[in-house]
């Protein structure tokens, strides 16, 4: 029985709330991530769904160590990286990479596509200079772009193509784990499917594990055999997809699923029954989201 690629144990991230009195004091904490545990095996995709304020994006950033967790363990290939220093993390950055949501703002508009994709090659110096261009062109081809376009700038590409560039950049160092934070939400519907298919192919061919963070339950279901549902910083349910979608156990999961607009409704007609989750989802999620946003270090 092989060890899991990523094992997260009791991960917490508390952002301090500073009072705005005459002398600012820490009056409390926003528990953005409050004791989260899950595992991901090599080559496997885990979906993380939730609404705003659930903590799913913060979790993704903790895994890639863009933040340092308040407590808990992040075991990558057996080593706890939760409190590693920047120097210790550097070789790990090859193995864990992130794909971001907005293809329009996550690429530096002043760099050519070749520079963007080649940046990790420069930083980690594993590939000699002569080989870099070839690797860049290889990557462009893998993601379905024209390898001759490495000298173009991001604004010369469409949204879907830019997202492909972002994916190529993440693949440069052949990572073992990709954290995809809402990778298709900002794209047109017909393009979303292209990117999802691409990621699925890459996962299969390169045996990459995924942490797929999204709010779109249908897309997550399509991509991930295992899905975890987050609510107010905690995982309320974590199950294989067939089970979660056909037989959800937690009331919040049930209310989420009943809210997803369904094309089959057109055939059935009328309005569907919505399951209301009694905890005031909106109010507490809103205050969590607002506090998280206000309390985060300049992110």
């Amino acid at each position: 029985m092989t060890a899991p690629l990523l094992e997260v144990k009791d991960l917490t991230m508390h952002f301090p709330i500073r009072s705005r009195g005459i002398i600012p004091r820490t009056v409390g904490h926003v528990k953005a991530v409050d004791g989260v545990s899950f595992t991901i095996n090599a080559g496997q995709a885990l979906g993380l769904v939730g609404e705003s304020g659930s903590g799913k994006s913060t979790t993704g950033r903790l895994i890639t160590r863009l933040y340092e967790p308040t407590s808990g363990q992040i075991l990558f290939e057996g080593t706890d990286i939760a409190r590693s220093s920047a120097r210790e993390l550097k070789p790990l950055r090859r193995d864990i990479q992130m794909i971001f949501q907005d293809p329009y703002t996550s690429l530096n508009p002043r760099h050519t596509v070749g520079e963007i994709i080649g940046a990790p090659l420069e930083i980690h110096k594993l590939v000699p200079k002569e080989g870099r261009l070839r690797r860049i062109q290889e990557l462009l081809e893998i993601v379905g772009l024209n390898p001759e376009h490495y000298n173009r700038y991001p604004h010369e590409f469409s949204g879907g193509q830019r997202q492909r560039i972002g994916i190529a950049r993440a693949l440069t160092m052949s990572p073992k784990l990709l954290v995809a934070d809402e990778p298709v939400s900002a794209l047109d519907v017909s393009i979303q499917a292209q990117i999802i298919n691409l990621m699925k192919d890459l996962q299969r061919e390169m045996n990459i594990a995924f942490l797929f963070i999204a709010h779109d339950l249908a897309i997550v279901r399509h991509f991930c055999p295992q899905v975890a549902v987050m609510y107010l910083g905690k995982i309320v349910e974590n199950a294989p997809r067939e089970e979660l979608y056909s037989n959800p156990k937690h009331a919040y999961t049930q209310s989420l699923l009943s809210a997803v607009p369904d094309m089959r409704q057109a055939v059935v007609g009328g309005r569907r029954e919505r399951i209301r989750y009694t905890h005031d989802v909106e109010a507490s999620a809103a205050s969590t989201a607002a506090n998280t946003a206000a309390a985060q270090p300049s992110a």
Partner: protein, 345 residues
């Protein structure tokens, strides 16, 4: 024959730019009756938002060139003077927008902005406007409206903000409400609440509702009829049930196939529509969708889609589509679909 309540006829909206003329909408026509919901589906560049903004006259005094007719309750809105249109805007026809955070002024309270919508069309005192505002905020489901009326937009959650926008739009009992992607920026549970709210209010006030969205699930839940737009034109129109169960135009079919839902087969790859939407600066001469169509090769003569723009024709009562294919039932053609579509250079 009486005209329908809302009748958009041959609407054309062009924007002259330094790169050329952007043909945002060309020859768009559709109708709507009170109490009914028309869903307009399209992606970016389809012209769905631009054409709907034309109904409100938001293109007046800009560089846009607008022509055609928009009949609302017996009046052609495009023929009205600016002042007459301004009097109808927000009163007879209202609009709610996608992102309620940026759509509301951050420096004024919600109460101020909602009451403003009421006072510009009704000669009432500030006090009366405030009372009506609180009434509307309550009607749209905002708890403690008498307290929250003095809060600022950033103090509301996303769903509450959108409710406030709906209150603002409906405060004058408009006959037509246009909702431009009203739930795209919201969480799914909140989206469901907002859609339910809109439907309740529509039932209560018998408002005609245009729901613009790219989400076919929302269309399925809310719309009676659907208009599918591509590259500035209507490409299919019919009842929701008809279009979603048996689409007659390859783009509609492509949209339906490319979106997974909660019951689709996870082992099958999604079927995206290959390629990218066309530029509106230089639209193709023939069928705008042809470069991406997997059924193109089934058309006879083979060069027809590239040369000639198909007309919008009625293939069944109330079902129109714009396509060169002879076959209406696309499910028969699916096995014949091309595997790959040649990408334009």
């Amino acid at each position: 024959m009486t005209r329908p309540f809302l009748s958009v006829e041959n609407l054309v909206v062009h924007f002259p730019t330094s790169d050329g003329i952007v043909r945002a909408t060309d020859g768009l026509s559709y109708t709507l009756e009170p109490g009914k919901t028309l869903g307009i589906v399209g992606e970016s560049g389809s012209g769905k938002s631009v054409s709907s903004s034309a109904i409100l006259g938001l293109h007046r005094n800009t560089s846009a060139q607008v022509s055609g007719q928009i009949w609302l309750d017996g009046e052609d809105l495009l023929s009205l003077s600016d002042k007459e249109m301004q009097q109808r805007r927000g009163k007879d026809v209202a609009m709610i927008f996608q992102d309620p955070l940026s759509a509301l002024h951050p420096y004024y309270t919600i109460g101020n902005q909602v009451a403003e919508a009421y006072r510009v069309h009704n000669d009432v005192s500030k006090k009366a406007a405030r009372t009506r505002t609180i009434e509307m905020l309550d009607r749209v489901g905002i708890p403690n409206p008498q307290l929250r009326v003095d809060d600022y937009p950033h103090q509301f959650s996303g769903g509450m903000r959108q409710r406030a926008m709906i209150a603002m739009a409906l405060i004058n009992d408009p006959e037509l409400l246009i909702a431009d992607e009203p739930t795209t920026a919201l969480d799914v549970t909140v989206q469901a609440q907002i859609l339910d709210l809109l439907q309740d209010l529509q039932r209560e006030f018998n408002t005609a509702l245009i729901m613009i969205t790219h989400d076919l699930g929302v269309i399925a839940e809310v719309a009676d009829d659907v208009l599918v737009m591509y590259a500035g034109r209507a490409v299919e129109y019919g009842s929701t049930r008809q279009l979603l169960t048996a689409p007659a135009m390859p783009y509609t079919l492509g949209l339906i196939q490319s979106v997974p839902d909660l019951s689709s087969d996870v082992n099958e790859p999604l079927r995206p529509i290959p390629g990218n939407p066309p530029s509106l600066l230089d639209p193709p001469r023939g069928c705008a969708f042809a470069p991406r169509c997997t059924f193109k090769h089934l058309v006879d003569p083979p060069n027809l889609p590239d040369e000639v723009m198909p007309e919008l024709e009625e293939i069944a009562p109330g079902h129109l589509r714009r396509c060169h294919l002879k076959e209406h039932d696309l499910s028969k053609l699916i096995p014949l679909a091309a595997e790959k579509v040649e990408e334009p250079a």
